[in-house]
Amino acid sequence: MNIVVCIKQVPISSDVEIDPKTGTLKRDGVDSKINPYDLYAIETAMLIKEKTKARVTAITMGPPQAKEILREALMMGIDKVVILSDRKFAGADVLATSYALSQGIRKLNSADIIICGKQTTDGDTAQIGPELAAFLNIPHAAYVSCIREVKEFSITVDCDMDETIQTCRLELPALITVGIEIGQPRLPSFSLKMKTRDRNIDLFSLDDLSDKNEDNYGLNGSPTQVIKIFPPESRSEKTTWEGDAETNASRILSKLNEFKII
């Protein structure tokens, strides 16, 4: 059995600011980490690996620096790592990103289960998993809270559908997205770090993919366009209370009375 985990590099801090004069991002020197939800995806893959002896590949798309998170994935027990990196992938929206990932996964040539974190902490869109499954034409289940059973040709999972829990069996190959309910992700291990430090990181560029038409990737392949970025508005009519706790508590209390909360 082959499992593919999709992971993404996200900024550690959300203190990204915008220059109000130029309208550009001030993002220099921001450190990166693995998207926290992707750690649950890796953990899910490891739990399945323990039971089925599956081989697990992690794939990411990004600039060459994104190799760092692949190293971390290796330290968590991932067997093989691949980065999709090409200047022509830059500026991709969800559609172009998931298309490139689908091409990369097709090149791996064997993926029975594909696992994604349910969303990232930078974009927060939660769209890549379902879009990727659409491009691969395989069934998917999002918001999986529990893996019940993995067999040679199927996976049975619980999906969180807001009001209900839906238990379903998906024919393989299939894609799932997972979150925090899966359980605490394992920590990177030092012995794996030593063992995998020379492990090769495969790089796929556009030329390695079967669809080489650059119009389908990056900015060219993105239907959505960011036409402007701007700082969120602040409230103009605002009451500010400084001073000691005693005074402020009284002020709050009188407002609570005024609003008939008490």
Binding site: P11, S14, V16, E17, I18, L25, D93, V94, L95, S98, G123, D124, T125, A126, Q127, G129, P130, E131, L132, A133, A134, I138, H140, A141, A142, Y143, D160, M161, D162, E163, T164, I165, Q166, T167, C168, R169, E171, L219, P223, T224, Q225, V226, I229, P232, R235, K238, T239, T240, W241, E242, A245, E246, N248, A249, I252, L253, K255, F259, I261, I262
Partner: protein
């Protein structure tokens, strides 16, 4: 994207031409001048090179006829026929935008035995409800639901499609958008429509304190998802000639590689979306035990405790009580944020609340940008004092 085109006949001295580019993007390949990926489109070669040798050409852009795509469609999210509240909110927004372009408002509903629900949507100002009523659609399975959605889009050709940001919507909308190969903007907080039918989609972006204004200029339909409680519920409105259209689809398109084994109601937990008073706690709380004071305050005010992401990640608070882009959107009568700095993700999840009181030590905390009452102070001093005062006032009232 524009690119530089080379007219080889106009180049006589290859060596000089190569030196034109400050980035080294002009090179000789197989005896011919070519431009490599280092090109920054600075146009120096056009200005300083031999006349006509380099030319800037706009690449042939994909063109669509926008007039062929009309109307605004809303996906009617429901469970066993009970329409989810986000559906009405989206219909309200669709009505508002449709008015500007004299568009119709459509609803798409799919399921099994959904006649009544389809009819009920007509009371919300929808012009046409398109209903796919098949027993195969009784439970949500991604492939048949996607096929039905794509069938609807192909038949009706709406310009805009709005889907509620429920777990179902956030699984279905991207699958459909990718199948149709169009753009989708998730969790929009503001929507408007241009006279040329381009949808203005605004959402927090880049994981920072930034909003992005997004358009889908060359693709139709334009897909957007919006969370529950972001837009207000509209007034009911019954339009003349409003009707339910029963739609048919090949049954083979209803087959699935998924088998539903069980559907259980989730253990009844409090829906923070429904709470009228929320005490939201954040990193200002140093120990798990300290949350007791927030619980006590919430109880005194008849409210509920919710939280920003950090306390969810530390496991102190249950994940369904998370406010923000990755959690829930809330719109209570009163929210008191305690020790929350207020990332854009958090603020997007609560900025529409009627009254926002924010307590934070740092007077520059971003939460104060949207607070009605900015209270600069330490939660450890203020909350106990407040609890004491509320208790005193309650006993005084009783006496």
């Amino acid at each position: 994207m524009p690119e530089i085109k080379i007219n080889h006949s106009k180049i006589t001295d290859i060596e000089t031409v190569i030196k034109l580019c400050p980035f080294g993007a002009i090179e000789v390949k197989n005896g011919k001048v070519s431009i490599n990926e280092l090109c920054k489109l600075c146009r120096i070669c056009i200005l300083k090179g031999p006349k006509g040798a380099f030319e800037l050409v706009e690449k042939q852009k994909r063109q669509i006829v926008k007039e062929q795509w009309k109307g605004i469609a809303v996906y009617a999210d429901h469970f066993k026929g009970h329409i989810h509240g986000v559906t009405y909110e989206l219909i309200g927004k669709a009505r508002e935008m449709a008015k500007k372009l004299d568009y119709e408002v459509y609803a798409l509903i799919c399921g099994s035995c959904i006649n009544k629900s389809a009819e009920s949507l007509l009371e919300w100002g929808v012009d046409k409800v398109f209903s796919y009523d098949y027993k195969e659609l009784k439970f949500f399975k991604i492939e048949p639901y996607t096929n039905v959605f794509c069938d609807f889009v192909a038949k009706v050709k709406p310009s805009v499609v709005l889907v509620g940001g429920t777990n179902l919507g956030r699984s279905l909308a991207p699958r459909v958008a990718a199948t149709i190969k169009t753009g989708l903007t998730a969790d929009c907080t503001l929507l408007d429509i241009q006279s040329n039918s381009d949808l203005d989609q605004i959402r927090p972006a880049f994981g920072g304190n930034i909003m992005a204004h997004i358009r889908t200029p060359q693709h139709r339909p334009q897909f957007a998802t919006v969370r529950y409680k972001v837009f207000p519920t509209p007034e009911r409105l019954k339009k003349e000639n409003a009707e339910v259209v029963q739609c048919t689809i090949d049954t083979e398109k209803l087959s699935s590689r998924i088998v539903i084994l069980d559907v259980k109601p989730k253990p009844k937990t409090l829906n923070i979306e429904e709470a009228e008073v929320i005490i939201a706690v954040g990193r200002g709380f140093k120990k798990r035990e300290d949350l007791a004071m927030a619980e006590e305050l919430a109880e005194l005010l008849g409210g509920h405790v919710a939280s920003s992401r950090p306390l969810i990640e530390s496991g102190w608070i249950d994940s369904h009580k998370q406010i923000g882009l990755s959690g829930r959107t809330v719109k209570p009568k009163l929210i008191i944020t305690c020790g929350i700095s207020g990332s854009i993700q958090f603020r997007s999840g609560m900025s529409n609340s009627d009254v926002i009181m924010a307590i934070n030590k740092d007077k520059n905390a971003p939460i104060f940008q949207i607070a009605h009452y900015a209270i600069i102070g330490d939660v450890y001093e203020l909350i106990p004092k407040l609890i004491e005062k509320i208790k005193t006032s309650k006993t005084t009232l009783k006496n």
